[in-house]
């Protein structure tokens, strides 16, 4: 029955008619909660989306050495790809060094990015706890948490990054003002 209705609709479109809203729901198929969970990986700055679990900078050191150092250097600098550590105090100079420590405004973005995009050859291959641990290690290298610090879904959103106030929204798309009238 489902496919039969789709056929009918395809006929209408073929005749050049715009699909009536009443038929519109017939496109695609419902997404199940289980499959949404598989893909729903984004983490908000408020920590929304962060999973249970946690990790320490001490644990992260070895995971970083095994998975990250080849591109980012042994201590998050001096590698062939993005420098992750240092650079504080350089942003207004002629040679700004933008790193997690000097530039990134939210610690939650670090978890999100490592989980979605890293390690580069096998993105998403680190476990939840390993991702927390690497996050903690990079934060500790930048002096943002102690060398024996830990992070989890409660503590990560509470971390105040050094450059948290370093961003000025473009007036046209300032999230704080954009939809206020509505």
């Amino acid at each position: 029955m489902f496919s039969h209705r789709k056929l009918l609709l395809a006929g209408f479109l073929g005749a050049g008619l715009i699909a009536a809203p009443a038929l519109a729901f017939d496109f695609g198929r419902p997404a199940t909660p289980a499959e949404i969970k598989l893909w729903d990986i984004d983490i908000g700055p408020d920590g929304k989306g962060l999973p249970d679990g946690g990790g320490s900078a001490v644990q992260g050191k070895q995971i970083f050495a095994d998975n990250c150092a080849v591109c980012h250097g042994d201590n998050g600098q001096g590698g062939i790809k993005d420098r992750l550590v240092g650079g504080q105090g350089t942003l207004a100079s002629n040679m700004p060094v933008k790193t997690v420590g000097s530039f990134w405004p939210y610690a939650t973005t670090l978890y999100d990015y490592i989980h979605r995009a890293m390690p580069y050859p096998t993105p998403g291959s680190l476990s939840t706890d390993e991702t927390y641990a690497v996050t903690a290690y990079i934060l500790s290298l930048n002096g943002i948490i102690p060398a024996d610090g830990k992070v989890d879904k409660d503590s990560l959103p509470k971390i105040r990054m050094p450059n948290r106030d370093g961003f000025i929204p473009d007036p046209e798309f300032d999230p704080a003002k954009l939809f206020r009238k509505k």
């Binding site: 695609g28 198929r29 908000g44 933008k98 973005t109 979605r116 995009a117």
Partner: protein, 423 residues
């Protein structure tokens, strides 16, 4: 009259004739015509006609035409190994008209070009919606579609010239990260109606199916709601893999990075997600060390492509030609100065002038053989004027890296050599 004379009348191709043909193939669009002209002084020299090659399933460019993008990395990192490239630039100095050939549309990716089987690709739309849905490519193709010609521009376009102007750059190096194609797909609004978006949701996360899972937060302004679409067609055929096959978001007038390629997820929410790309990457560091965020719209811009960097011209008649575009709407006018921005003359625009698409401009010019500087500036229908270099840098500093739209100046020396300069 020497055999070189006809070539030298063609703007930007004297370098071919002067050096003979050795290494001359990197000259402009008329390189092929130049070699024909040099090889056929009189009509008697034109080769006899005869049966040509067999017809084929797929046409290739003439063997006399060489058109290539160039893979590059960050500013100053040119001629890199393709494995280290992060973008690949359009050869505007060799192109005519308004539409970029599909295989030469600029390319930027953050984790290579995925090889996606469309039968296994899915688009999930969820979040603040009543009916989260999953769509296949075939589902999208069955929906009412729109077709529109728009430019897409990487926010890094122009980034070679923030701090200095390397004199040996071509316009491909300086402005090769913008292109214009015709895209076909389904209006975002149609998809939003299908999933019954919550009225209070005014931000959307768009995410790609590439290794990096590139994602950006998009404000659902009236303009974006009426213009954004999910494209599966590019210049009449399915998207090329480099440009998002099998589906991508098209955001007319906005940062290239928002036009998420290999689109696989749209999620509705009520605040930006502060992804890596909208915090650590595509934000503009100002002189005071603060970074401008959510500068999403691409600015009013233009560049002279003919003659341009590394070409050589002859005194006498030269035709100046270039491209102008604006993320604010249509280009209203383009002015060209041939005396280093002292006086300006309005150029002709090729018709039709489309909103948020590149438009070709042209102007006749007789060069007196004295060193000078040529520069273009565009004005769009909203009255935005492309800024001169000095006032642009005064406002943005030299660290912003992205959203460079200062006027592009080419210097011409007494030998007719065209070079990249700051102003």
């Amino acid at each position: 009259m020497t055999s070189r004379t006809p070539i030298e009348l063609l703007p930007g191709h004297a370098n071919v004739s002067r050096r003979g043909f050795v290494g001359g193939l990197s000259a402009g669009i008329l390189g092929a015509a130049a070699s024909e002209a040099a090889g056929a002084e009189t009509l008697a020299d034109v080769p006899d006609r005869g049966p040509g090659a067999e017809l084929s399933a797929h046409s290739e460019r003439s063997r006399f035409v060489k058109l290539d993008r160039i893979p590059e990395a960050t500013p100053g990192k040119r001629n890199v190994d393709p494995g280290n490239a992060i973008n690949s630039k359009t050869p505007h100095q060799k192109l005519v008209g308004n539409i970029t050939p599909t295989d030469l549309h600029y390319e930027r990716s953050h984790s290579g070009v995925p090889d996606i089987d469309p039968a296994q690709h899915r688009l999930l739309i969820h979040g603040m919606v009543s009916k989260p849905l999953v769509f296949s490519v075939e589902d999208l193709k069955r929906m009412p579609s729109i077709t529109r010609i728009v430019f897409i521009e990487c926010t890094g376009n122009g980034w070679e010239n923030w701090k200095k102007a390397d004199p040996d750059l071509t316009v491909q190096n300086t402005h090769g990260l913008v292109s214009t194609n015709e895209w076909t797909g389904v209006p975002l609004k149609f998809l939003i109606d299908l999933v019954a978006k919550d009225r209070s949701s005014n931000w959307m996360l768009a995410e790609g199916g590439d290794g990096a899972g590139v994602d950006r937060s998009i404000p659902l302004t009236d303009e974006i709601l009426s213009e954004a679409f999910v494209a599966y067609g590019q210049n009449g055929e399915p998207l090329r893999p480099a440009h998002g096959f099998p589906m991508r978001l098209v955001m007319p007038g906005f940062e290239g990075n928002l036009n998420i390629k290999w689109l696989r997820r749209l999620k509705f929410g009520n605040a930006p997600w502060m992804t890596r790309w909208e915090t650590a990457r595509y934000t503009q560091l100002l002189a005071d060390g603060k970074a401008r965020q959510f500068q999403l719209r691409m600015e009013t811009n233009s560049v002279i492509t003919q003659p341009s960097g590394m070409m050589q011209i002859q005194p006498g008649y030269n035709r100046i030609s270039g491209l102008a575009w604006s993320g604010h709407g249509k280009i209203a006018k383009v002015e060209v100065s041939t005396d280093g921005a002292k006086t300006w003359k309005q150029a002709q625009l090729s018709q039709p002038v489309l909103s948020k698409a590149q438009v070709r401009f042209q102007m006749d010019w007789v060069w007196d053989g004295k060193p000078t500087r040529i520069v273009s500036r565009s004005t769009d229908e909203q009255g935005n004027v492309q800024p001169d270099r000095q006032s642009f840098i005064a406002a943005m500093g030299t660290n912003a890296l992205f959203h460079y739209n200062a006027q592009q100046t080419w210097s011409i020396d007494e030998a007719g050599r065209v070079r990249n300069v700051l102003a």
